[in-house]
């Protein structure tokens, strides 16, 4: 534990960064881990706590340059952890209330739109089959 705190100056921010980036790069692809980030929330929390704990423990017998580094590391860790918390628990709830049109609509209006190859696809082409339409926010 003592060793861990000794290295917390770089280990903490590293864990936080890994915890943050891996959510978007890896875990967001799996619905179970995306909907509630079971891996990433503990990781960024651990990284943040570790960095701040290291700062706390080592403050008195550190030189000012190390204190500086540790302060920056702590700010970084806590900032990144906060960013993930904000994204997960606040930002992604930013959706408008369900519109009256959506509530009221009963029949699907026919439409024709282009697919990736420029071919027109009409809903009427699929009459006689069930159709699942997924609306996306875009490619990002």
């Amino acid at each position: 534990m003592r060793n861990l705190l000794k290295h917390s100056i770089w280990l903490g921010p590293l864990i936080t960064l890994v915890g943050f980036l891996s959510y978007f790069l890896i875990f967001a692809k799996y619905p179970v881990l995306r909907d509630v980030p079971w891996v990433n929330i503990p990781l960024v929390t651990l990284g943040g706590v570790l960095t701040v704990a290291g700062l706390w423990r080592g403050w008195n017998n550190s030189r000012w340059i190390k204190r500086c580094f540790h302060c920056v590391g702590s700010l970084f860790s806590v900032g990144i952890a906060g960013l993930l918390f904000f994204y997960v628990f606040s930002y992604s709830y930013g959706l408008p209330v369900t519109s009256e049109t959506t509530k009221a609509i009963e029949r699907a209006p026919d439409f024709s739109l282009s697919d990736a190859n420029g071919n027109l696809v009409s809903l009427a082409d699929y009459r006689g089959k069930k159709v699942v339409i997924s609306f996306y926010r875009g490619f990002w």
């Binding site: 994204y87 049109t101 959506t102 699907a108 209006p109 439409f111 739109l113 069930k130 609306f135």
Partner: protein
């Protein structure tokens, strides 16, 4: 949905995707992600508006986009299911859609 596309096909259910991305954007950015079902371009939000799914300034740069939604339409064009989410990180899973489809069949 893409990973379960064969199960949709086995159920004889058509899957379509719609977003505000243009044909070019879909081709460049989304097709390489591995989508095989038709992704339809609605940059003018015509269809998105027809379903009332416009999210004003939903894109981080301020453009309007569609809010995520799953709409299930039956054989005669009647909307039988509207699955909306309160959080755009959290989308209905393919399994949940299959459950709804099975319930519709049974009903």
């Amino acid at each position: 949905m893409q990973t379960k596309i064969e199960e949709f096909e086995a159920r004889d259910v058509v899957v379509l995707g719609i977003s505000t991305s243009t044909v070019g954007e879909v081709k460049e950015k989304m097709i390489p992600m591995g989508f095989t079902f038709p992704l339809l371009a609605d940059p003018e939000l015509k269809v998105i508006d027809a379903f009332g799914l416009r999210h004003v300034a939903g894109y981080p740069t301020g453009e309007d986009i569609a809010r995520p939604a799953i709409i299930i339409i039956d054989e005669s064009g009647v909307i039988v299911e509207k699955m909306l989410t309160e959080n755009w990180r959290v989308r209905p899973t393919a399994e949940l859609i299959f459950e709804k489809l099975d319930a519709l069949k049974a009903g």
